[in-house]
Amino acid sequence: MLKSFFKEVGEYCLLMRKTFSRPDNWRMVLKQVPTEMVKLGVDSVGIILIISVFMGVIMTMQVVLNTENPMLPRYTTGLMLRDTYLLEFSSTIMCLLLAGKVGSNIASEIGSMRVSEQIDAMEIMGVNSANYLILPKVLGLVLFMPVLVTFCVALGLLGGAGVAQFTDLITMSDYIYGIQYAFIPFYFTQGVIKSLFFGFIISSVSSFYGYYAYGGALAVGRASTHAVVNSSVIMLLADVVLTKIMLT
C-alpha cells in the first residue's frame, strides 16, 4: 500500500519532468493551448454559473435566517457571503466541481489514447507525448483559472443581490454595505493564487491517471475515477497548506 503510493508519486514526478521538458516543436504545443482553454475552461462556465448563483442565493438566505441575533450588525450577511466566496468558494469548492467535470474529461481522453496505442504511435515517431498532450492542458486550464474565479465571485454576489432585490429578508443597502465593509483586496489575490495551484493539480493529476491507463476500456473508466477522487483529495491537502502559508 505504502510502497505503491510512493511508486505513484515517483511516476508522477517523472511524468511531470517529461511534460515540462523542452517541446520538440513549440508551435505545435502552443497551437493547442487556446483549444484546451475553450474545452476545459470556457465550456465549464455554464456549470459554474449555475452553482455560483444558486449557492449565493442559498447562503444569503441561510445566513439571514439563521443568525437572527440583535447583537450582529445587519451587514453581517453581505460580509460573510463576500469573504466565503473570496476565500474558499471561488477556489476550493469551484475546483472540486471542476475536478469532477474537467478531471474525468482529461483522464478519459488521454486514457483512451493510451489504450488505442495513439500514445505509443507518438513515441515511435519520436514525439514527446507527455509534453504534447499534457502541457497544453495544464497551461490552458491554469491560465483560465483567474477568469473562472472572478466570474464565480461576481455571480455569487449577484445571487445575494437577487435575494435582497426580490425578497424582504435583507435590504439592498444593508447588503451592498456588507459586501463593501472592511474589504481586504488580498483575499481576492489569495483565491486566485490558490486556484492556480488547484488548476495545476486537476490537470496534471488527471493527465497522470490517463497516461498510465493500461488495459482496455475498463482501465479508462478506472483512470477517470482515480483522477477525480485523487485530485480532489490532493487539492484539499494543498488547500490546508496554502491557507496556512498565506493567512499567517
Binding site: 520538440d24 516543436n25 505545435m28 483512451s112 489514447m113 488505442s116 496505442e117 495513439q118 505509443d120 504511435a121 513515441e123 515511435i124 515517431m125 519520436g126 514525439v127
Partner: protein
C-alpha cells in the same frame, strides 16, 4: 538492415524471449511468425525499444539501440515508421491531419510542401481525395490501415514495423494491404518487419521469415522454402490445417 544479436527479454523473472539472433534485410518484407503468445509482439517492441532487453544487441545498420542515449533514440525514431495493430490514428485529427502530424513535428518544410507530401502519401496508398477531410471514426477499418501506412511513410522512413497489419480485415483487403506494404518496401528500399500469423500474408509476401516458438527462434527461411522444409516446428505451425496439408501434397507431387 536491422540485426538482432542474442536478445533476451523476461517479465517478472519469466523468460519470454531467449537468445534470439536474426537479420532483417533492407528492401524486403521480413516476417516474424508464430503462434499466439509465442512472443512476436514482445520481440518487435524490443527491437523498436518500447521494451528494454536484459541482454543482447539491436543494431540499426550497425547502430546499437540498446546503449543509445535518449536523444539518439529520438533521432533514430524519426527514421522509423510503425503500423499498429489497431491503426492508432489520432481521433482528433482528420485523415490529412494525421499524415501531416509527423511532418509538422519534424520536417523543415513550408506548410504547402507538407500538405503536398501528405497528399502524395495518401494517394500512394490509394486513398480517394474526398476522404482526406474525414475523421478516422468516419472511414472503414481498411482505409484506416491505409492512412496509418501513409502516416508511417510520411517522413521517408528507413525502417517500417507492422504489428499484424491485417488483423480484423477480410481476405481481399488483407491482400491489398500486404501488397501495398511489399510495394512500398521495395520501392523505397525500406527494412520492413511484419508481425503476422496469417497464412495468406506469409505465402504472399514472406520474403524472409523468422518463426518464433515459445520465445526461441525455431526456423528461418523464405516463403519458397516452406513447402519443402522438414523443420518440425514450421510444419506444426503451417500445416495445422488439412487444407495446407493437402496443398503441400499437391505441390510436392507435381
Amino acid at each position: 538492415m536491422i540485426e538482432v544479436k542474442n536478445l533476451h527479454k523476461s517479465f517478472d523473472g519469466k523468460k519470454i524471449l531467449e537468445d534470439i539472433s536474426a537479420q532483417f534485410l533492407s528492401g524486403k518484407v521480413n516476417q516474424i511468425i508464430g503462434q499466439s503468445g509465442s512472443g512476436k509482439t514482445v520481440l518487435m517492441k524490443s527491437i523498436i525499444g518500447l521494451f528494454r532487453p536484459e541482454e543482447g544487441q539491436v543494431l540499426y545498420d550497425g547502430r546499437n539501440l540498446v546503449d543509445m542515449s535518449g536523444r539518439e533514440v529520438k533521432r533514430l525514431r524519426q527514421e522509423v515508421g510503425m503500423l499498429f495493430q489497431g491503426s492508432a490514428l489520432f481521433d482528433s485529427l482528420t485523415v490529412l491531419g494525421n499524415v501531416m502530424f509527423p511532418l509538422e513535428m519534424f520536417a523543415k518544410m513550408t506548410r504547402k510542401e507538407m500538405e503536398e507530401r501528405a497528399k502524395f502519401c495518401l494517394t500512394r496508398v490509394n486513398l480517394m481525395p474526398e476522404k482526406f477531410g474525414l475523421y478516422p471514426g468516419e472511414i472503414s477499418g481498411g482505409m484506416q490501415k491505409r492512412v496509418a501506412i501513409a502516416r508511417a511513410i510520411a517522413l521517408n522512413p528507413k525502417y517500417l514495423f507492422c504489428d499484424e497489419p491485417n488483423s480484423g480485415l477480410d481476405p481481399v483487403t488483407s491482400l491489398v494491404i500486404d501488397k501495398l506494404i511489399e510495394e512500398i518496401t521495395e520501392e523505397y528500399n525500406i527494412t520492413t518487419i511484419v508481425n503476422t500469423h496469417d497464412m495468406n500474408s506469409i505465402m504472399e509476401t514472406g520474403a524472409h521469415i523468422i518463426l518464433i516458438e515459445k520465445g526461441h527462434k525455431a526456423w528461418e527461411g523464405s516463403k519458397d522454402d516452406i513447402f519443402t522444409s522438414d523443420n518440425k516446428s514450421l510444419n506444426d505451425f503451417v500445416f495445422a490445417s488439412d487444407l495446407f496439408k493437402n496443398v503441400r501434397k499437391a505441390v510436392n507431387n507435381k
